[in-house]
């Protein structure tokens, strides 16, 4: 890997808060004029129901692989300096951040576009699940991005494509 390529992906175990500053510092560089970030936070309502918390679990080794792979994809589409992706597991109460992405690039367009790509790609491919907990029940959520991508995921072409990177 080229010295200039810095990519960090992390799955944080339960009860570890996301330190956004740490990731912003990681992607910062004198030559990078733009840093784009995305923070996903737990909302207080879903379809009129009051959300108590979200609970996350993951197939950790595969989630890390998929996160690294999506970062490689981003690099092949945009000119990026550094990337940091972090996702929490366990309970994430309303208002707290469950996922954080930071991307830096020389010019801002690359970082902004790559940042959007990375959260979209995470929602479509990374094996992480969340359960929405209400006052009177709980339900496993399903990302529409995954439903759209589902039939392509296991095709031979996709795996071969990843191996060639």
């Amino acid at each position: 890997m080229a010295e200039e390529e810095r990519t960090q992906v992390e799955i944080l175990e339960e009860n570890n808060l996301i330190d956004m500053t740490k990731y912003i510092n990681y992607v910062s560089a004198p030559q990078a004029g733009g840093i784009a970030t995305f923070a996903g936070t737990t909302r207080d309502t879903f379809e009129g129901k009051s959300v108590v918390e979200l609970r996350y679990e993951a197939y950790v080794p595969m989630a890390i692989r998929c996160m690294k792979s999506m970062c490689s994809s981003a690099r092949s589409s945009w000119n990026l300096h550094s990337i940091a992706v972090a996702h929490r597991l366990g309970s994430v109460p309303v208002g707290e951040t469950s996922v954080f992405i930071a991307v830096s690039s020389v010019h801002r367009a690359d970082a902004l576009d790559a940042c959007k790509f990375l959260i979209d790609e995470l929602k479509a491919t990374v094996p992480i699940w969340k359960k929405e907990v209400y006052a009177n029940g709980e339900v496993w959520k399903e990302n529409s991005e995954f439903a759209e991508r589902r039939l392509e995921l296991g095709k031979d072409g996709i795996a071969a494509e990843e191996k060639s990177r």
């Binding site: 679990e57 197939y59 595969m62 995470l122 094996p127 496993w140 959520k141 995921l153 296991g154 095709k155």
Partner: protein, 105 residues
């Protein structure tokens, strides 16, 4: 776990499940989220005839846990931490994961 009578009847004549190690493979199956709710298990060792596909694994799992039918149409499979399809042949010591619809982020 014991091979059930139903499973023996549906296999070819040349299958001898536990007598000859060379003709069977042992894999580990992982259940996540809704799949774990439905089976009550996080993981399960599974023995299959050599040459079995991921579809064969799935058939065996559904036979044991019929409630998995609920997610059959919406889940995907992963073999050794990579997404796969139902026609791939499993090898000894492979890790097969049932991936119900994901919801990260």
């Amino acid at each position: 776990m014991d091979v059930t009578d139903r499973e023996i009847k549906t296999k070819n004549a040349e299958c001898k499940p536990t007598e000859n190690k060379g003709s069977s493979v042992q894999i580990k199956v992982l259940f996540f989220a809704r799949a774990r709710d439905l089976t009550g298990l996080a993981e399960l060792p599974l023995e299959l005839t050599s040459g079995s596909t991921t579809q064969d694994c799935l058939n065996k799992l559904v036979a044991r846990f019929p409630s998995l039918e609920e997610i059959l149409g919406s889940m995907v499979l992963a073999l050794n931490e990579e997404y796969t399809n139902e026609s791939v042949i499993v090898q000894d010591k492979d890790e097969l994961a049932l991936i119900p619809p994901i919801s990260g982020g």
